[in-house]
Symmetry: C2
Subunit: 417 residues, 2 copies
């Protein structure tokens, strides 16, 4: 079955790749309109998913993530209209040259072809991903979580109606509807048709994809983020950055896990950190080196473990340790980091430069919160995923990351010398 | 054991990533000098490999590929000096922006880290790859064929001597010396330390890597290349391009496999093709549609098979078929091509434009030979590999393909709004 879907997606991708930006935008506008016009069918389907989820004992937080309301659907439709306004990377000439041989060469951006996306219980991802793929002329095969089965099916139906109304192939956006998990394994090996795989989920999903997929995978999304507080900081400002990086949205991958404090200021800085974090409701996890300065502070403090250092918190918890110097901070980040987002707070230009050069993360910050790692904050307009691997795309991935390029060589009946 | 090599390579990569271009060039120059100064040890080792290869009954062509002479070694050393002259992509700022939030953002090229290269019996690849990786600040783990075991070992010894003399870590260039094949499987799963894997070999090696590797792999090098002869061509010029594409170097991946001839000119063009190819010593493999026009020609002609269409020839053989129109040519290329290099010969602007848009290959040519797909011909200075996948790098890969980028965000104690 997946083979047929793949074949249809590849054929659709050929048609999509020749569309003009205006044609793609017309389809996106129609898709947005039809999502609103057919909101009732989508919301009815969502009610089925909600009922099943309640019955299965899903937590309130997850239930809320699953819920679609007319207002939420309108907001999603408006996001689709926003995608129309983004500039289309397809067709862009990246560079070109005139070779001595007479060959005129250019490198032009083209769609990737067929993109596979595996994701969890977020009904908005279906529309989100479909619109970004359509904008870049890619076909997409979606595999959502079983919790959103009915919602996704209804959503994809509406998307396909819009595609057909524009004379575009339905197979441009397909969803794997059966909850059979064997189909995921099959999708991971569909390299004949699928050009790129984006898993959007937890560490286990990324690991599965990395180990089993024969298709190039974009892995990422796991952020064990650090901030090194150098000896030369302004305490108040540093505390404000740390607080924001930790508490603004603890469940985000770019929120802070570990603060590394220069030993020269530890005795003065850590009590203030305890104070600040106490007021923010944050539990501290202190190393032996940090504990003496924290144990009498107001914030709750526990002894840090190796697991604390290695895992994302996604909660109001923060590791704190004291390091001898910048070298020790960098060494800690190399050992425990996930190459997502790491920051230094310092007034020293040479410390800043060294940190930027030596910390090999997707995003490295000087005197800024790790929370900035985001397609919107980076001005990319939309975010497909956050990559923590190094090939193809790194950090927040915008529309450009959904494209590749081809070399085009022009001659006048030219042979290689 | 590989784990230790990986760990050492990663540590070396951190040191390499902070080197200036001048420091890297100094190491490359010394490496070239020492390869010449120590040519005797390398050539003695090569004689051991040659003797073993002769004993195993290796063909003369392969023996010649394996052979190192003082002259060949000097040529290789001179290639290393050429790498010094290439511009260093590391440190380049790709783009940057000032966000409304106050964040100053830049995207800067950095080395990938550790690169794994698996290759066959070509002793020059060892030095080639080592010099390109060093130039881009990457550490490399090499796994050569067992036929070049002694040569590679002697070469890597000299390279490591040069590295040490410059104060650089030996682990920047390491070779897996044991011929144990289990080590390849182990290397393919060393994702903790290795950032990119480049297989340089046949289809079987690429398949193995795609299926078993947990490290991102660059696959490529397999070229089933087509040229579509449209109805509007100048016969003489078209025949010249086709002959060159086929016979200039039949063993190269960018040489021609299949000629697709527009039906409107088949009756006149194909007899001339037979004539031209006969003089070039090429055997034709004709479809039913082409056979009537070829069977009385001078060139040897056989009936084409499905395998002929799907496999690289690497020899003086050429498939010939007649197609109804451009659509049929594109459909054939989509069915049998490997997205390597495909060309159209035409005087029609609209045919050229459609071919360029609809044929999704790494390199698409208008009125030029497929043989141009090459790092040197594209002005890249050096070629690491030719990628036929779509992620990260497509077509000939130059130094840039050995880099990634990091986002660097500067603020003044900035928090996300």
């Amino acid at each position: 079955m997946l083979n047929e879907m793949g074949k249809a997606a590849k054929a659709a991708s050929w048609q999509l790749s020749t569309l003009s930006t205006a044609q793609k935008n017309r389809a996106l506008m129609l898709m947005a309109d039809m999502l609103e016009a057919n909101s009732q069918s989508i919301i009815l389907a969502n009610e089925l998913d909600m009922a099943a989820a309640r019955e299965s004992g899903m937590s309130e937080a997850l239930l809320d993530r699953l819920l679609l309301t007319p207002a939420r659907l309108s907001a999603i439709a408006s996001d689709v209209r926003d995608v129309c306004r983004l500039s289309d990377p397809v067709g862009q000439v990246i560079d070109g040259s005139q070779q001595d041989s007479g060959l005129r060469l250019e490198r032009r951006r083209v769609p990737l072809g067929v993109i596979g996306v595996i994701y969890e219980a977020r009904p908005n991802v279906t529309i989100d991903v479909a619109s970004l793929c359509l904008k870049t002329g890619n076909a997409v095969i979606l595999r959502g979580g079983k919790e959103t089965h009915h919602t996704n099916q209804a959503t994809v139906n509406v998307i396909q109606m819009a595609l057909e109304e524009c004379g575009l192939p339905k197979a441009a956006v397909q969803a794997i509807e059966s909850p059979d998990r064997a189909l995921v394994a099959e999708l991971l090996r569909l390299d004949k048709y699928v050009d790129m795989l984006i898993p959007r989920g937890g560490a286990a999903l990324h690991k599965l994809c990395r180990e089993q997929s024969t298709i190039p995978v974009i892995t990422g999304g796991i952020g064990v983020c650090h901030t090194f507080v150098d000896e030369s900081v302004d305490f108040d400002k540093a505390l404000t950055v740390l607080e924001s990086a930790k508490v603004q949205r603890p469940s985000a991958c770019n929120s802070l896990e570990t603060v590394l404090v220069h030993q020269a200021i530890a005795a003065r800085f850590l009590p203030e950190l305890s104070d600040k974090m106490h007021r923010a409701g944050v539990t501290l996890h202190a190393s032996e080196s940090a504990m003496p300065y924290l144990q009498n502070g107001p914030a709750k403090v526990l002894a840090v473990t190796e697991e604390d250092y290695s895992d994302e918190w996604l909660s109001l918890d923060l590791n704190v340790t004291v390091v001898d110097d910048l070298d020790a901070a960098v060494a800690h980040i190399r050992t425990y980091g996930t190459e997502h987002s790491d920051a230094i707070l310092t007034r020293s230009i040479s410390s800043a430069d060294r940190f930027v050069r030596e910390v090999d993360s997707s995003a490295v910050y000087v005197n800024a919160s790790t929370r900035f790692t985001d397609g919107g904050q980076f001005g990319l307009g939309a975010e497909v995923a956050v990559s923590t691997q190094k090939l193809h795309a790194r950090g927040p991935m915008g529309l450009e990351a959904l494209t590749t390029y081809k070399w085009i060589g022009y001659g006048d009946d030219l042979v290689r010398p």
